[in-house]
């Protein structure tokens, strides 16, 4: 008998929930924002201009047989200004008939101008927002960030999907570094390293990846070209990087193309033989790859073995030269994206880290790079 009363009370309490389903919001009531672009706002108070790209579901082809009208109108681009990011998004909400939903945001584009001033406050808002994924890609855009959202690529219906695929593909091929918001936040919190982000340029019709932007704390201090970025990726993440196209020494119009297949890097800290005392860092990098293209010059090689030896030697010098350039740039801007500081802190804590301030010491820290190139295959063609 009493059990029945208890069940009755339970039921009554449950019925009271019918009063509201607080979190329910239908799919079509939400405006999924796939990309956000942040620029500098014009006026004084309004520091930021936020642009968003909202897909219009009905116009997307392939859904219930309706819609399918022109790709160009499949998204709507809207832009507002605000004092902070959240202020701007709230202003945007005031102009929309649906609730902004940030759970699907994949790309945050930030203009170079703002990046150079520092993006700490932008990211603070993102940290606190529960819906933001840490897997989204922050991208630094040369010029105005909103230009990234206004492109009309023919290859995809929704422009942002095009950008996403670009980065995704590059990531899989190993040519574009996978820097997500999570990585960025980890690296800024970590006192021993600096972050970097992808750097793109957008024109009317297309998007071009032009390297990476390197940071010191939250400010952008410089950028690396694609070639330098590939060196960075080989040394830091053991990723392939892109094809290496090298002019052969001493010949005109002679090129060789190496496609790296496998990269293995070891970082060792050794006592410095030169400059008396201290430590130096040596990156030993082994690259295994194939020759994909050879435009021969004047010199003919006696045998394939000699060919391979000569190529390996020349490629080695070329790669080391590129790496040196990259490191010089990093040290010039005092941005340790190589994870050198992390390595020192982890493995050489008591002998090195506690005595030095890495912020200052990185500039002059001697770093050497040694490449070992191993050519495995020559492609489908055997003749030189």
């Amino acid at each position: 008998m009493d059990k029945r009363w208890s069940y009755l009370c339970l039921l009554l309490l449950c019925l009271s929930f019918l009063a509201g389903c607080w979190d329910r919001r239908e799919l079509e009531e939400r405006a999924s924002v796939l990309a956000i672009a942040i620029d500098a706002g014009g006026e004084d108070e309004e520091r930021y201009r936020v642009t968003v790209q909202i897909p219009i579901p009905i116009k997307i082809a392939g859904s219930s047989g309706q819609g399918g009208g022109g790709n160009s109108n499949a998204v709507k681009v809207m832009s507002v200004t605000g004092r902070t990011i959240t202020d701007a998004t709230n202003n945007l909400q005031l102009r929309l008939n649906q609730r902004l939903f940030l759970g699907h945001t994949r790309v945050v584009a930030i203009s170079e101008e703002i990046a150079r001033e520092g993006i700490e406050d932008i990211l603070d808002g993102f940290r606190r927002e529960a819906l933001i994924r840490r897997l989204l890609w922050p991208i630094i855009v040369k010029g105005k960030a909103s230009s990234l959202l206004e492109i009309k690529p023919q290859l995809a219906q929704i422009p942002v999907v095009f950008i996403m695929d670009l980065v995704e593909n590059g990531r899989k091929m190993g040519t574009i570094p996978d820097k997500t918001l999570g990585d960025y936040l980890n690296e800024t919190s970590n006192k021993s390293m600096q972050p970097f982000l992808n750097y793109v340029e957008a024109t009317k019709r297309e998007v071009k990846w032009i390297g990476t932007a390197i940071f010191h704390d939250h400010k952008m201090v410089g950028s690396l070209t694609p070639i330098q970025t590939w060196s960075l990726m080989q040394l830091r993440n053991q990723k392939r990087g892109g094809d290496v196209i090298m002019p052969l020494a001493g010949q005109e119009d002679a090129y060789v193309t190496l496609r790296p297949r496998f990269v293995d890097t070891n970082l060792t800290i050794q006592p410095n033989k030169f400059k008396g005392g201290g430590l130096e860092a040596v990156f030993s990098c082994e690259v295994q790859g194939d020759i994909m293209e050879y435009v021969p010059g004047n010199i003919r090689f006696a045998s394939p073995e000699k060919f391979i030896e000569a190529m390996q030697k020349e490629l080695k010098q070329e790669m080391e030269k590129r790496a040196r350039q990259m490191i010089q740039k990093l040290q010039k801007h005092n941005s340790d994206v190589l994870k050198l500081g992390l390595h020192l802190r982890s493995y050489h804590f008591h002998d090195y880290w506690v005595h030095h301030d890495w912020n200052k010491a990185f500039k002059d820290f001697p770093i050497r790079v040694e490449y070992t190139i191993k050519l495995r295959r020559l492609g489908m063609e055997m003749e030189q």
Binding site: E26, L27, R133
Partner: protein, 511 residues
């Protein structure tokens, strides 16, 4: 005013009790347990009185060769006429008999009125001889019965195709010939005041746990109803938890399933008049285990069983998952799919909970209606109805296309359970889960699952916890739980039924 009301109620109750008493006097208990007289005509009058001069009571008077009058009384339609005319009447009237031995297969004598009436009602004939108080009871049952056919609710691809019929003796025979074990015990009970239904309770002595058997018999004996029309009546009266949505006693039409369960130590309850036989105790595995699993090889059997379990989960949870994902957690759906789904939903004016309920209720109505439709129209309407209604609803903008797919998959999934009662339980539970999903999303679904698990943990079927062998954890019993281990690894019977003889397969001897 209230005085008048009370008086009126009292009078109503009194009248009602009077009527009840009158009717009660007419039931079987009221037949006096008295011996009959030796005068033939008196006996005939007595019997006719008992039956109130029913027109289907036939009294056939004749003379035996010894010169005495005799009469055979039976109910028209229930007897095999050949037995009466050839064996009883002819043998008694033509041959020279010194003692009476009508040639029939079953012969008993009695002089108790109640037994006589009961036998007439069961289709036997009674033979009165003038001058003797001994009355012969002759087995002459011969009404039309359905022949043994494939059970319609449980068909298999591989396995025997005979199913139980409505006749108790035939059913018992179907079991006996599969289980030629002298330890197979049958207890005969009569249940139901007016229907006086014959009930057999079967178990294997030495394998089944005696307290379970005794408990089953005790509960059936304590039943005090007017009518037992189907095993469902017995099932609902003796089950442990009346208010639980989950069946605690299994029912089946297949003899091989009964035999397999008897061999695992369970008790079978057969009821005259229905082909559905009960198995007690029953645990959760009844929802998805089918005898076919044991006839095929173990890889296939395990895979198919696994598919069944997945289908049951889908049938229970898929609409709720859809509601939860689309309304509460759209960030979980891949970005490209979200846009397509939003596009599909953009024409629908209702929230997804209402949309889902609407479609589910429509499908349930269709399903119930197609059961009643005759012949070949039934299944066709089901399919056509679903497709057409679905398409039309999408074009009209009432539901989104994703919803149609979900409802279709759910419906098909719910057919995968081999046990109909279990499938109904799942179908029913779908709606509260949808409701909870509409309130709290995935959290709501989880709340419901926890409530269900707590409830399942608290149910016992005749002392066996419903969730055995998962909890209490019994690793040996788990060999037959989701995967079906090869036969040579399942040498012991599941111990959750506390069997006495544990070994069902012995090691090969060298001989």
């Amino acid at each position: 005013m209230s005085q008048f009301w009370n008086a009126w109620n009292k009078r109503k109750d009194r009248l009602r009790n009077q009527t009840l008493e009158q009717h009660a006097n007419k039931s079987m208990d009221s037949v006096k347990d008295s011996p009959v007289t030796s005068v033939l005509e008196d006996n005939i009058v007595l019997i006719e009185q008992q039956f109130g001069k029913s027109d289907d009571l036939v009294v056939r008077r004749f003379q035996i060769t010894t010169g005495k009058d005799a009469a055979v009384i039976f109910l028209d339609g229930m007897v095999d006429r050949n037995v009466i005319s050839d064996f009883v009447i002819r043998s008694l009237t033509t041959e020279n008999v010194t003692y009476l031995s009508p040639a029939s297969n079953e012969l008993e004598t009695t002089n108790q009125l109640r037994q006589i009436v009961r036998n007439i009602l069961s289709g036997n004939s009674v033979l009165f001889i003038d001058g003797s108080t001994e009355v012969y009871l002759i087995n002459s049952r011969g009404w039309d019965r359905r022949s043994v056919m494939e059970p319609q609710t449980e068909s298999v691809v591989r396995g025997p195709r005979d199913g139980f019929t409505e006749t108790l003796s035939v059913n018992a025979a179907l079991i006996r010939f599969r289980l030629k074990d002298p330890n197979l015990r049958v207890k005969h009970l009569i249940v139901g005041q007016r229907t006086q239904t014959d009930v057999f309770v079967m178990h294997i002595d030495g394998v089944a746990h005696p307290p379970i058997v005794e408990e089953v018999i005790r509960r059936i004996e304590n039943l005090n109803l007017d009518a037992i029309l189907e095993t469902g009546y017995i099932e609902q009266m003796i089950q442990d938890h009346r208010y639980s949505p989950f069946p605690q006693i299994q029912n089946t039409e297949r003899p091989d399933k009964i035999v397999a369960n008897l061999l695992e130590g369970k008790v079978a309850i057969l009821v005259d008049g229905t082909p559905f036989v009960l198995i007690a105790p029953a645990v959760l595995s009844q929802f998805y285990q089918s005898p076919e699993d044991y006839y095929e090889r173990f890889y296939i059997a395990s895979l198919i069983r696994f598919i069944r379990v997945i289908s049951i989960l889908i049938a229970l949870l898929l609409p709720s998952l859809y509601i939860a994902f689309s309304s509460f957690h759209p960030e979980m759906i891949p970005s490209r799919l979200v846009i397509a789904m939003a596009a599909g939903r953009s024409t629908v004016p209702f929230p997804s909970l209402v949309e889902a309920m609407f479609m589910e209720i429509a499908i349930e109505i269709l399903r119930e209606a197609s059961v009643r439709l005759p012949g070949p129209i039934g299944p066709t309407i089901g399919i056509v109805g679903a497709l057409v209604v679905g398409e039309a609803a999408v074009s009209a903008g009432l539901v989104s296309p994703v919803m149609v797919i979900i409802v279709a998959v759910t419906t098909i999934g719910s057919f995968a359970s081999p046990s109909y009662s279990a499938a109904i339980a799942i179908r029913m539970l779908r709606f509260p889960v949808m409701f909870m999903a509409g309130l709290f999303g995935l959290y709501g679904i989880m709340l419901f699952i926890i409530v269900m698990l707590v409830h399942l943990s608290s149910i016992k079927s005749f002392g066996v916890p419903y969730l055995s062998p998962i909890s209490p954890l019994n690793l040996m019993g788990m060999r037959d739980l989701f995967l079906r281990f090869p036969h040579h690894l399942m040498k012991l019977r599941p111990s959750m039924f506390r069997v006495h003889d544990k070994i069902r397969m012995r090691e090969d001897d060298q001989s």
